[in-house]
């Protein structure tokens, strides 16, 4: 394959990118100068060396040098001002950004996904052993399961509730109901059922 088509094929693997947009990316890069392309290439190549997966919450973070030693936990996990008694279990790194903007001040745990409904090997899809191990560390008062309000999310939530039942920690789930901005007329019956059940 020629270098133009080869690079387009690599971009086509990016999430949400089809062949037309992949081709446009390559055209865009062809029109940039070499120093830009080199900067982008270096950023991609060094990404692995300059980032690490947090040993505590499993999200990816930029490594920084503190004196002679490397950090091995992320900024949030290392922040003594966060409420270490609360653990917000979310599916992926991107979920943290919205949660941070909501004003949440506890810690996080990246589950890595959800369990497909018919799966016989749930541990393949999520960090179940890691979460159980994390739940045994001292200081946790509550684990909030922040899973998608979908069939797979519910399935995963139920499985985690069962696994964590004997942990002695309060296991809670995100409230379900009307999302901000929504109207009753356009809400589906299940959302109204949840909103009625969670009325306050």
């Amino acid at each position: 394959m020629n270098p133009i088509d080869k690079l387009a094929a690599l971009f086509e693997k990016f999430p949400g990118i089809g062949p037309r947009q992949a081709g446009r990316f390559v055209q865009y890069l062809l029109k940039q100068n070499q120093s830009y392309r080199t900067a982008l290439a270096d950023s991609i190549k060094k990404l692995g060396a300059e980032t690490a997966q947090c040993r505590q919450c499993f999200r990816w973070f930029a490594v920084e040098h503190q004196g002679s030693s490397l950090m091995n936990v992320c900024r949030i996990c290392a922040d003594a001002r966060r409420d270490a008694s609360m653990l917000f279990v979310v599916e992926k790194d991107a979920d943290i950004e919205n949660a941070e903007q909501s004003g949440y001040k506890g810690l996080y745990f990246i589950l890595g996904g959800t369990i497909p409904l018919a799966s016989e090997e749930p541990q393949k899809f999520i960090r179940m052993a890691e979460l159980l191990s994390r739940s045994k560390k001292s200081g946790l008062a509550e684990i909030i399961l922040g899973l998608s309000a979908t069939a797979e999310g519910d399935h995963t939530r139920l499985m985690l509730q069962e696994k964590l039942r004997d942990s002695g920690i309060k296991i809670s789930s995100l409230g379900r109901g009307l999302s901000t901005g929504s109207e009753l007329e356009y809400a589906d019956p299940d959302t109204i059922k949840q909103a009625l059940g969670n009325r306050h």
Copy 2:
């Protein structure tokens, strides 16, 4: 105006209908036979005589003859099997359909809208006096405020909570949080904040 354009202008007032679709409606009617058009016209003309607004919940319903007397309350309000201790306050008739599908078994009250944020005459926009009057009837244990999760809905909810505070009835609001089918990554921070606040 000629009858084709005149009818199109009447259809253009229908909710959500622009000039192009209004014109298409007229073309559709021109191609139907006269008996169809007469049936539609009669249905529209008799709508007022064959319907009534429920004296209790204010929704529109089809009047039926029971012996010599007309019903003046709707089927739901007249149904002795419904839980008459619960009153679900909704904005408009269309909200009832989804609520019924959610499995709710109490009664309803159609508020008629929401109060604009800057309004000095809130009673112009909603049935506030009628709701206060309804709250004084015996047998009500809980009023559920089923308002839109919008700024106007919140404004209306707060005003109703204040007005109903001394009624001796429990005043509740629909739960806010993740709507069915939604994912954390695409939820807005306020919805996550509500979902965290309503965790259970």
Copy 3:
């Protein structure tokens, strides 16, 4: 069926209207006063008596009284300033509005549709006999086939070209190519092929 659901069912037959919007139309009508509903009903009921299908172009028009006699052709067909040597064959009444805005000054003929690809009885779907008869009237110099740029439109165009071949009238088709506002990058290959073929 009760009158509310019955009227919603009639609106649901309107082109492009689903059950939710049909219900909203009825709610809208319930909130109007009786005089509005009567006006709408009368407009619909009288539509048949106040309109006629033009005997020449077959479009629907509002009948007007001229002295003692009714018009039986539409305003465009009756307009002596129009160029009676040109006949623009279009599929439906709604096509005329755009054509008029384009500045076209000849006459029209409403074909009534297109012929499905596999049809064995094409005369069932379009006014073929009426068009042939129209083509035999004196004064016509050109028939412009204004059919959709689709497979069915092309099929119908080819069939009409064959039928009209021996009429002695010039039979033309609308130009194909880039539509106003379009860019080459987003044009499909067939449109580019047509645009190259029709270059000038």
Copy 4:
């Protein structure tokens, strides 16, 4: 800026990519292994060295070695089977793909854009001098101006027609009219005007 945010900022400059999708690209890359990231980085870094801009049509192409010498024209320009008497002037590289699928067999010239309506220095936006120079080479019988059917495209076309008027070469433009798949009812009046003007 940390390497994760820095790479996201670089992706955000890609055409059509907002901050959310840029972040998703980085998350995608974090989850790939280092060999994949290295392959992508190398593809980007070597893009400049492995491609060249065709000296004849100005599109980007993958350089190949032929004996001891590098090619300096692209495959299409070098292909003796193409019709060298026809030159299709298009705005950008991406336009060629659709044109090739349309069955066009002549040569191309990448103009590099269109001229803004109010521009006083048109030569800044398009390869006007290069096109004039190209038009003077022997063998050209026709130049097809394949510009967007927009105000800027028309402006550019008129300016090029004027500049090329004395070249002795036939200057043509792409046909305008109904694009494949379109219906008269949804066509804008200008498209119908063009389609009537280009009827055949």
